[in-house]
Amino acid sequence: MKPGRISFVTGGFLVFLSWTLLAWGEFKINRVSRGITIRMMDVIPLYGWILMIAIFIVSFWFELYRPKIKQTVLLWILTIAPALCLIGISGFVPSLTEFDPNVARVSLGIGFYLFLGGILLMVSKGKGGQTRIVSTLVWVFVALGSGFADSLGLIREYNNLQDVFVRELFRHVTLALLSACLAILPGVMLGYASLRYPKAKEWIFGFVHLFQVAPTLSLLALMMIPLTALSRAFPFLADLGIKGIGFAPAFIVLFLYSLLPITSNTYAGLSQTDPFVLESATALGMTEKQKFRRIWFPLSLPAIFAGIRTAMTQNIGNTILAGLVGGGGMGALIFLGLSQSALDLVLLGTIPVVTMALLIDAIFAILEKTTIKRLGVKYDPHRTIG
C-alpha cells in the first residue's frame, strides 16, 4: 500500500472511532463543576450524520476501488469538518440542567482531538497535503475566533484573561526570540573559534554542551543563587530587573541554551565547506579576512540558519519554564491552569506555544531553502552534529 493510502485509511479509522465510542467534550455549569459528557450523537442532527457517513463511504469507495478518480475535492471538503464540529460542540445545550449561559462552558474531550488527528491524516494524502493540513488548522482557528464557539472553555478562559494573555504572549516571544538572537553572534564566534583553534574545541563544546545536558529547571535554580547575590551587592542591578527571580534568570538560561545549536551548526557548516574552494580562495590571493567574509561564511550560512532555527524553536518550548521563576510567558498561564485543575487554561497556554514553534520552524525552513537556492550550494542538514 502506498503511504498516502495508509494515512488515509488510518485517519478514517480514527475518525470512525471518535464518532462512535468517545466523549467529544464535557459540558460544565461552571469552571469547577463536574461535567456532562458529550457524545457525537448529542451534537450532530440526523441529516448531518447521514451526510457525513455518505461523504466517508464515497471517499472510501473512491480510495479503494476507483483510486484514479480525483478525490481532491472531497479532501478539501474534509478540511472544514473539524471547524464545523467545534462550533457544533460549543453549541451543545443540555436539556435537563439549569445553568447560566454566560458561565457554563464546554471543554473539548479526547473524541475531538482524535477526530482532528484523523482528519489531518486523511487530508494529508496526496498532492497539496501540506496545504490542506495548514488550511484545516486555519479553519479551526477561524472557528475559535468567529464568536460561534464562545461557550468553549478555551474561549471563556481567553475572554476572562485577555489582557494577561496578550501581555504574556508578548513576553514569551520576547524572551524566546531575543535570547536566541543575542546568542547568534557569540554562537557563531564560538563555532569559528573551535575550528580555528582545535585545542580549544573540546573546551568550547564542553562548555556549550554543559547547558544542554543540565536540566533546564535546575539551571534556572542554579542561576538564582549568583543573581540574588549580585542584586544584593549592587542594588541598582535589582532596579534594572536583574535579580534572582523574574526576567533575568530566565533570559540568561535561554541564552545559554541557544548557544549549543548555533555553535555546533556553525562549526559543522564551516568544516563542511569544500576544502578546494577554500584552497583556491587562498591561492587567488585572498587574505584570511577576505576568505572568511566572502567565501567561507556565506557558504556556511544555511547551516548557521539551521542552528538558529533549532535554537529558536527549542527556546519557544523552554520559555514555558520561565513561568516557574516569575519570568512570565505562556508558562504563567499553564502553571496557573495546572494548579487550578483548569485544563482549558492549560490549553490556552499550550496552543500558542505549539503554533509559534511550528510557525518559526516553517519560516526558517523557507529562509534556509531560499539561501541555499541563492547561494547555489548543496547543503545536507543531516550531516550537522549536535
Binding site: D274, F276, E279, S280, T282, G285, R294, I295, P298, L299
Partner: protein, 305 residues
C-alpha cells in the same frame, strides 16, 4: 622566469622535496610529471607560497618570493587545480572577476577581460550569469582556467587541471589550452601524471621521483635520453609513439591547413593499411601518398628522435 634553488620540504619522515633545482624560462610550459607522492604538487605549490619550504629559495624574475606578502604574490600568479574550486555562490562572471576586483581594476576593464577570456576558452557569453552547479565538468574547468588567467598573470600554475574531466572532453580542453598557450605565451608550470598530456602540452618535461628531478628536457629529447632507469619505466618504452601525438600532419608536410590529423593518428592509418601507405589530401587539394619512411624521416630530421 622562475628559478628554484636547493628547495627542501619534509612532511614528518617523508621527503617531499629533496634539494630541488629548476629553472623555468619565460614563456615556457614546463610539465612536472611523476607518480603520486613524488613531490610534484609540493614543488608547484611552493612557487606561490601555498607550501612553505623548509629551506632553499624560489626566485620569480630574480626576486626572492619571500620579499612580497603572500597575497600580493598570489594575485600575480594564476592558479588552477583539478577540483577547480569555483566559488559555488558566485556566478561565472564573478568567479572570473575575483582577482581583477581585488586588484581594483575598473569595471569596464574587468568586463572586457572576462569577455576576452570566455571567448578564448570557448565559453558562450550566456554563461556569465550561470552558477557553477549548472556547468558540466569541462565547462567548469574552462571557467577555472579563465579565473587563473583573469588578471593577466605572467605565471600560471596548474595542478592536474584536466584530471577530473572525461577523456573526450579532456582532449578538447587540452587542445584548446595548447592554442591559448601559443597565443598568450605564459610561463606555465603544469603538474600531471599523464604522460600523453605532458607530451602534448610541454615545452619541457621534468620527471620527478621521491622529491628529486630525475630528468629535465624537451619532450623530443627525452626520446633520445632515457638512460635513467626510472624515467624509462615511467615514460614507457612506447614513449616515441606517444610523442607522435605532439605533431600533426601540417608539421610533417610543412604546410598550413585545417587538418587536425596528428602523427600518431597517421601512424594508426599506416598500420591499418596493408602496404603501410596513407593517401591524404594536402593543403592545395592534391592527393599525396605518405609512407612510413616519411614519418621516420620527419622525426629524425633535426635529430628529433
Amino acid at each position: 622566469m622562475i628559478r628554484i634553488a636547493q628547495l627542501v620540504k619534509n612532511y614528518g619522515n617523508i621527503t617531499a622535496l629533496d634539494r630541488v633545482d629548476l629553472t623555468i624560462e619565460e614563456g615556457e610550459c614546463v610539465v612536472l610529471i611523476g607518480p603520486s607522492g613524488c613531490g610534484k604538487s609540493t614543488l608547484l605549490r611552493s612557487i606561490n607560497r601555498m607550501v612553505q619550504p623548509d629551506s632553499g629559495s624560489v626566485y620569480v624574475d630574480e626576486q626572492d618570493i619571500l620579499k612580497y606578502p603572500p597575497e600580493t604574490l598570489r594575485r600575480k600568479i594564476g592558479y588552477c587545480i583539478q577540483n577547480v574550486g569555483l566559488f559555488p555562490h558566485y556566478t561565472v562572471y564573478e568567479n572570473i572577476a575575483v582577482v581583477p576586483k581585488m586588484l581594483k581594476w575598473s569595471k569596464a576593464k574587468i568586463e572586457e577581460r572576462v569577455d576576452f577570456l570566455m571567448d578564448l576558452t570557448g565559453l558562450p557569453k550566456e554563461y556569465k550569469t550561470k552558477k557553477p552547479h549548472e556547468l558540466s565538468g569541462g565547462e567548469a574547468q574552462r571557467v577555472g582556467v579563465c579565473r587563473a588567467l583573469a588578471a593577466d598573470p605572467d605565471i600560471l600554475l596548474m595542478d592536474e587541471p584536466f584530471g577530473a574531466v572525461d577523456p573526450m572532453t579532456r582532449v578538447k580542453i587540452q587542445t584548446a589550452f595548447r592554442n591559448i598557450q601559443k597565443e598568450l605565451k605564459k610561463t606555465v608550470v603544469f603538474v600531471t601524471h599523464d604522460v600523453e598530456e605532458a607530451v602534448l602540452l610541454a615545452d619541457k618535461i621534468a620527471v620527478m621521483q621521491n622529491g628529486k628531478i630525475l630528468g629535465y628536457d624537451t619532450p623530443s629529447n627525452f626520446a633520445l635520453h632515457m638512460e635513467e632507469e626510472f624515467v624509462r619505466s615511467f615514460l614507457g618504452l612506447d614513449y616515441p609513439v606517444k610523442l607522435l601525438k605532439r605533431y600533426n600532419i601540417d608539421d610533417l608536410l610543412n604546410q598550413e591547413s585545417d587538418s587536425k590529423l596528428t602523427l600518431n593518428e597517421l601512424l594508426a592509418g599506416m598500420l591499418e593499411s596493408p602496404d603501410g601507405n596513407v593517401t591524404i589530401q594536402n593543403a592545395n587539394g592534391d592527393k599525396q601518398t605518405l609512407h612510413f619512411e616519411d614519418l621516420i624521416h620527419y622525426l629524425h630530421k633535426d635529430d628529433q628522435v
